[in-house]
């Protein structure tokens, strides 16, 4: 992380970060986000995250960005996993346990089929 020295630096850095983000969205990398607030962790988000990591390592999947985020604010729905395939809309899964996480990785991330029965519906 570079240290910034003036307001101009901050503005410049933000623009650069914006560009990097846009590039990231276009370069065809899959993004997986796990909700890891207190509620998520209590519901087992760490195990889910580990299961996803294990799957990525075991199957040697390239170009996957795995991130964590805070709570979405839906108690009873955690752990929440959001999957964005390149050039596709974001898909949100609810109550993802490690087994489901494996299944999502296999079916959705690798094969490209959305698992409708696990979707978070409004």
């Amino acid at each position: 992380m570079p240290t910034i020295k003036s307001i101009e630096d901050l503005k410049k850095l933000r623009e650069e970060a914006q560009k990097i983000k846009e590039m990231r969205d276009q370069t065809g990398k899959t993004q997986i986000v796990v909700g890891m607030g207190t509620i998520g962790i209590a519901a087992g988000a760490r195990e889910t995250l580990k299961a996803i990591l294990t799957y990525i390592e075991e199957n040697n999947l390239p170009d996957i960005i795995l991130r964590q985020t805070g709570n979405l604010g839906l108690s009873g729905m955690d752990p929440v996993v959001k999957v964005t395939l390149p050039n596709r809309e974001e898909v949100t899964y609810r109550n993802v346990n490690p087994d489901m996480a494996q299944e999502i990785m296999q079916e959705h991330v690798v094969e490209g089929n959305v698992l409708n029965e696990y979707l978070l519906k409004e």
């Binding site: 992380m1 240290t3 910034i4 020295k5 003036s6 307001i7 630096d9 901050l10 503005k11 850095l13 933000r14 970060a17 914006q18 990097i20 983000k21 909700g35 607030g37 207190t38 509620i39 962790i41 991130r67 964590q68 985020t69 805070g70 709570n71 979405l72 604010g73 839906l74 108690s75 009873g76 729905m77 929440v80 409004e122």
Partner: protein
């Protein structure tokens, strides 16, 4: 969070379903696809409301027009008239006079949307809370550069113009508080972020801190610049381990990044933030007790005035704001006060984060514009009652109010609630159905207050003990009518004579109970029965 132009609410309870509401929902989705409106209109079900004559009932916002009864064959006309061409389909409007009376609350909702509008929570659950880069790519860090090029007084004027009111529960105008700290004499001033969220049932501050800790740092920087302070404290509840870790890491990252410390970005403005883990008592959320706790003393409140704005931390002028209040600051600076005023009601602009819990189908966190009604909250976000009818709701944790069913159509904002004698509180909404007994509920609350009273002043120490005793007597069938009078007297005594907010609000549940549920309490005393069947009546 996606923004919608219109919102369609369809009643889909048992009674509506028997009249074909499912087919109506299906037809509405089809019609929206046909007219290519599906991305602009949000469709949701609500429980049965109004009389059966008008079911299935369809309500369309922001015009707040109620249609009913609607059948599947009416849908195409309704969608094309109202949503596509934008005019009210008069022929389908509810015309039953009795029904019109029952949905009279809709009138004051014209022009508003009960839709979720995330301002404070906008990037919570979206960004990575451990990465300052991710924060910067999501509109973060935009407000501070604007502020640093302004004069401090101009910043305060913007906050005043926005009409932002404190979200901790009391609803004090934020701009006025900032001005008071700025005008207070002294060269050393402090900013304190109150994250000691100890009201039972609230967890909004935790979610904000965990989800977007950098915005809190940005807000404190802005407050520090505007008020002339150079040091800040975040007093965070001791149980919030994850939030504590996230905010500590965020501060470390911000220091390495160069936006915290001496002479920030060569502007001549210095600011540093310390994190203080809470002392684990309910009372430490009260501002003077909180300050005492930071100073290393016992977390006991003192009498006010002098207020912390002139005589706060170590006797210096101190600004204390709630997490949610501070979370509103960067969006206001970034989007302007006029934008902020366009959300919510005139007297209470902006949004409010609520935690909804209790006997509803879906619990959780939501951020909605001020002025939404409790009926809408239960219907749209709680997805209806779990079974049983709505009896009362408790707002804002223990020291909040008990809202009876007759007040569920009151707009939820600071002034409207004050006008009907209740308080909005800090944001917890505990929804209770008719299987709950009011006496039992208040008894549990009084037990909480008895345990949490610090014991410094007599009205609170003795008052909570005595009221708990009386409530226990009533709930066990030993109550008398004289005790009920005494209860009211004790309640008034606590309210008027107590030293701090804890004692002053401890009597609120009793006040609300005697005002709205007196018959139920008297049934315990005179008839010796608990109408809800909760209390173990022995006497």
């Amino acid at each position: 969070m996606k923004k919608y132009r219109s919102m369609v609410l369809i009643s889909n309870g048992d009674s509506s379903q028997s009249k074909g509401s499912e087919a109506v929902i299906e037809a509405i989705h089809q019609a929206l696809n046909k007219y290519d409106l599906a991305s602009e209109v949000y469709v949701t079900n609500i429980p049965d409301s109004g009389s059966p004559k008008a079911q299935p009932l369809v309500i369309i916002y922001p015009e707040a027009v109620a249609y009913g009864p609607i059948h599947a064959e009416d849908v195409d006309f309704l969608v094309s008239e109202h949503l596509y061409k934008g005019r009210v389909a008069e022929s389908l409007r509810v015309n039953d006079p009795f029904e019109i009376k029952r949905i009279a609350w809709l009138v004051q909702r014209t022009g508003t949307m009960p839709a979720e509008n995330r301002v404070v929570l906008e990037y919570v659950g979206v960004i990575d809370p451990t990465s300052i880069n991710d924060f910067l790519t999501h509109d973060g860090g935009q407000a501070f550069p604007i502020v640093i090029e302004m004069k401090p007084q101009e910043v305060i004027d913007i906050i005043k113009k926005s009409g932002l009111r404190g979200r901790g529960g009391a609803g004090f105008p934020v701009g006025v508080k900032w001005q008071a700290v700025r005008d207070a004499p002294g060269d050393k001033k402090y900013i304190v972020c109150n994250a000691d969220e100890s009201e039972p049932g609230t967890f909004k501050d935790r979610v904000i801190l965990e989800g977007n800790p950098f915005s809190m740092i940005e807000a404190m920087l802005i407050a520090g610049y505007a008020c002339g302070a150079d040091e800040g404290y975040i007093y965070i509840r001791g149980e919030y381990h994850d939030a504590l870790e996230k905010i500590t890491n965020a501060i470390k990252a911000a220091k390495e990044f160069g936006v915290l410390g001496q002479n920030i970005l060569k502007t001549g403005f210095s600011f540093d933030i310390h994190v203080h883990s809470g002392a684990g008592a309910y009372i430490c959320g009260e501002e003077t007790a909180l300050l005492a706790s930071i100073e290393g003393k016992r977390g006991e409140p003192r009498s006010k005035p002098p207020y912390p704005t002139t005589n706060g931390l170590w006797g210096k002028p101190t600004l204390i704001n709630n997490v949610e209040t501070l979370g509103n600051i960067p969006p206001i600076i970034h989007n302007g006060p006029e934008w902020f005023r366009s959300i919510g009601t005139t007297s209470s602009p902006g949004t409010k984060v609520y935690t909804i819990l209790g006997n509803v189908n879906r619990t959780g966190l939501m951020e909605v514009p001020m002025g939404i009604t409790l009926r809408e909250v239960i219907g749209i976000y709680g997805k209806g009652m779990k079974g049983g009818a709505f009896k009362f709701a408790q707002t804002g944790g223990s020291s909040g109010s008990i809202i009876p069913a007759i007040l569920q159509d009151t707009p939820m904002d600071f002034d409207s609630y004050r006008n009907v004698g209740v308080a909005l509180g800090s944001g917890a909404l505990l929804i209770c159905d008719d299987s709950n007994c009011i006496v039992d509920c208040v008894r549990v609350l009084m037990k909480f207050f008895k345990v949490e009273s610090c014991g410094k002043c007599v009205p609170c120490r003795i008052g909570t003990e005595q009221t708990l005793q009386i409530m226990t007597d009533i709930s066990e069938g030993r109550g008398t009518m004289e005790q009920l009078e005494q209860l009211d007297l004790l309640r008034k005594g606590m309210e008027q004579l107590s030293n701090c907010g804890l004692g002053q609000t401890a009597g609120t549940p009793i006040k609300n109970m005697l005002e709205h549920f007196r018959a139920e309490v008297e049934a315990h005393i005179k008839l010796g029965v608990c109408p809800a069947g909760v209390c173990a009546m022995e006497g």
